[in-house]
Amino acid sequence: MNIIIIGNGITGITCARNIRKKNSDATITVISEESKHFYSRTALMYIYMGHMKYENTKPYEDWFWSKNRINLIQATVNHLNTEDKSIQLDDERILNYDKLVLATGSISNKFGFPGEDLNGVQALYNLQDLQKMEKNTSNISSAVIVGGGLIGVEMAEMLHSRNISVTMLIRENAYWANALPQEEAQLIGNHLQKHGIKLKFNTELKEIRTIDQLSVHSIVTQQDETIYCQFLGITTGVKPNINFLKNSGIDIEKGIVVNEFLETNIPDIFAAGDCAQFRFIKTGEAPIEQLWYTGKMQGETLANTICGNKTTYDRGIWFNSAKFFDLEFQTYGKVLPEITHEQESFYWEHENGKISFRANYNRSDRSIIGFNFIGIRFRQVIAEHWIREQKQIEYVIDNLKQGWFDPEFSDSHYKKIAKSFNDNLIN
C-alpha cells in the first residue's frame, strides 16, 4: 500500500506514525512545503523570543524518520488528479498513491485591506512568517495588532519581549470575549495592560497608511483615531489551506468536506486537521477544528481507518489551554461566554486578580458542565470524569483537591473556592 500524506504538521505526522505502528509494510511518504521536518507550530513564539531554537521545536530527532521508514519530501503539491490517483509537485514530479491524506492545515485570513501587502504588515502562521517578522521588527519601537484572539496575544508577548510597544485593536468589548465569559476576559485584559500592552476595545481597523508606498506608517481605526506604527500584525483567524484543490473534484466548502470517518467524497482520499470540515456535527461542536489537540486526535483516528479498522472521529469532552503572558488558562467541557437559561455559573477570583475558577452546571439537576481555570492547573482525567458522570456541583466543589495539579507547595486555593461557594449558598 502506497500512502501519501500532504502536510507534515501535527495531523499529518500523527497519522503517518500511527499507520507505521499498525502496518510495517506500507510505503509512507509525507510531502510538505514549509519545512523538511516536523516542528511544533505552537512553539513559533518561543523561537522569536529566544526561549528555543528551531531545532528545539522538533519533537523527533532527524534519524527518527528514516528509522521508521517515513519518507520526507519538502515540496509543494500543485495539482491533484483523482482519476489516475496522482499528485504533481512544484518540481514537475508526479507521484502515484493508493491512499491520499490531505492535512494541509491553515492559512491566515486576509480581508483585502488596501495596504495589507506593505512591508511591516503581516500575519503569523508558519516559519516563513516568523522570518518575515524577524525582519519586520528589527529596530522598531511600536506595533499595532489587529484581533484579540490567541495568536494576537502571542504576537503581543513576542513583540513585548523585544521592548516594542504594542497596541491591540479588539473588536469586542473585552479580550477574547467571543470565547471567554466577561470576568475572565477582564482579568486577562488587566494582566496584559499591566505588562504595558495597550488595549483598544470596540475598535476595528479602517485604514492602513503609508508615506513611502513601501512600508506601513500608521493605521486609522473606525473611530478615526490615527496610531503610528512600524509593524502591523493581523491576527484575525485562519482558514483551511485548500487552494490547490479547487478544481480537483473534491467536495470543498470552507474546508475539505469530510464525514465522521474523515473520508472525502472521493474514495481513498481523506482529510484531517485544520483543513477538514465536518459535514455533520453535534450541537455545540464546530465544523472546523483548528487546534493542535484535535489535529492530533484526527490524525490518530484516521490512521485506524486507513489501516482497515474504520473508526469514527470523536472529539470527546472538550478541552483546551492557553497562556496569556504569565497567566495559564485551562478549560474543560463547554463553558460559553454567556450561560443559557438552563445553566448556572459559579465564579471565584483571587484577591491578586491573577487566579480564577469557574464551574458551570445545569440548574435543574446541578450536574457539572464545564470549568475555566486561570492560574490553576487541573487534572484533565478528573475534570473529564466528573463531566461525563454528571457529578453534582456540590460534589465537585468538595472534591476539587483531587484534581489539583499545581506544583507542590503552591497555595491550596480549593479551600477558598469551597468556602466562597458555600458562603454563596447561604446568602
Binding site: 511544533s40 512553539a43 518561543y46 523570543m49 521592548n163 510597544s165 489551554s321 484533565q380 473529564e384
Partner: protein, 436 residues
Amino acid sequence: MQDHSLSLAKPSEGLLSQKIGASLIAAAILCAIIAAFGQGETQSVLFFGLIIVFSVAGGMIFSIPYFKEIPGIKNNGIMHSPATNRGGIAWGIGILMTGFYIILYWFPNYLEGLIRAMDPLSIILRNKASDQWFLYGTLYTLAVIIMGIRFIGKYRSNRYQVLRTLSVMFFQLGFAFLIPAFLLKLNQPEFYFSYFWPLKYSYLFPNDIDYLIQSGNIGVFMVFWGLVMTFIATPILTYNYGKRWYCSWVCGCGALAETLGDPYRQNSNKSLQAWKVERWMVHSVLVFVVLTTALLWLNSWKNGTILGDASGLFSQCYGFLIGSVFSGVIGTGFYPIMGSRIWCRFGCPMAAILGLFQRFKSKFRITTNGGQCISCGNCSTYCEMGIDVRAYAQKGENIIRASCVGCGICSAVCPRGVLNLENLAEEGRFESYKRQ
C-alpha cells in the same frame, strides 16, 4: 501622540542595574587577580573585604531586574545571547572556570596571594590559616548564594523553586562551609554532614573510618552518621520523594549547578545518543567506586598481604580521575558549553545509586496531565539532565527516569501546565493517559 517612553524605559532600567552589577563583579575578579599576584598576602583584610563586598553587591544589583519584573518565568533572549548560547562569551567563561580549577587543584602556589587574602575569614571561622580548599569553599559558597538570589528572583512565581533553592543555599552555607570550619576550630575532624558515600567516597574508606573513630565520640558519631545516611536514610527518602530530596535540596554539587549553572541549563544534550553515553558512564563510575571501596576493605582486612599497594593505587586513580578531573574541572568548567549538570549526569556515583532506586522502587514520578501537551519543547529544552521530557508528555506518559533530579523546571516552564512532580502510590505509575 504615541507613548514610546514605556517601551524604552524598561530595558534601560534593567540594563543599568545589570551594567553596574556586572561591573562590580568584574571589579571583584580584578581584586582577586591582584590579590593572587601577592597583594593578598600583605593586605589580606583589605582584599578580602573588597572581593566579598564587590561580588555580593554586584550579584545583588545584577539580580534586581528579576525581582522587579511581574512574577513569571521569562527565558527571553537565552538562545540569542552569546553568553548563554555557547557563543564567544560562553566559551570565555568556560575556559576561565576550567583554568581556575586546574590552577586550584594542581598549581595552588599561583594562588598564594589569593589564599592569604582569605586568612582573616579562615582565622575567625577555623582558627587556622587559609589553604587552597578554604579559598575554594569560600568562593563556591559565595557563588551559590549570589546566584541563588538571582535564581529566586527569576523563578519566584513558583514556590517549589524558591524553597528548594533556599534549602541548597542553607546546606551549602551551613553544612558544607560553616560547620566543617567550626569543627576544625574545636579541634575536631573536618566533616561534611551533607555529603555521603559514594559521592564523598572516602567516608567509607577504611583509612577515613579509622581516623574518625580514633578522634573520639564525635568521630564515632560521624562514622555512624555516614553509615546511616548511606544505607538507611538514602533508600527511605528516595523511595518516598525520589532522588530530588538530595540532588535538588541538599547536595552542594547540585547547589552550584542550580544556581551558578542555571543560565546554562539549556545546553545539556537531549539526543538519544547522549542518553546512551550517560548510562554507560555514570554506571561505570559507580562500579569503579564500589570496586575501589571493596578493594580497600579487603586490603585492610588482610593487612595488605594480598593486594599490596594495588588498592591504594586504585583509590588514587579514582580520586584523580573522578574526584578532581571529572567532578571539578569538567563538571563545573564546562557548564557554559555542556549544561549545568555534566557531573551529576555523567559522573556522579551517588546520582547513579539514587537513580536506580528512583527508576525501580520509588513513589516519585512526573505526571503528565492528560492530552494537554502541545509538544512545544520548553520542558526538554530546559531540562538540565538532558531528558527529552516532551517525548513522554506528548504521549501522555509519566516521566520516570533514573537521571531526573526533580528540579521541577520542566514543570515550571511548561506553558500548558502539563507536568507535575508527585509522590504517589507506586502502583500504576507507568500507566499512560488514554482518551475515552
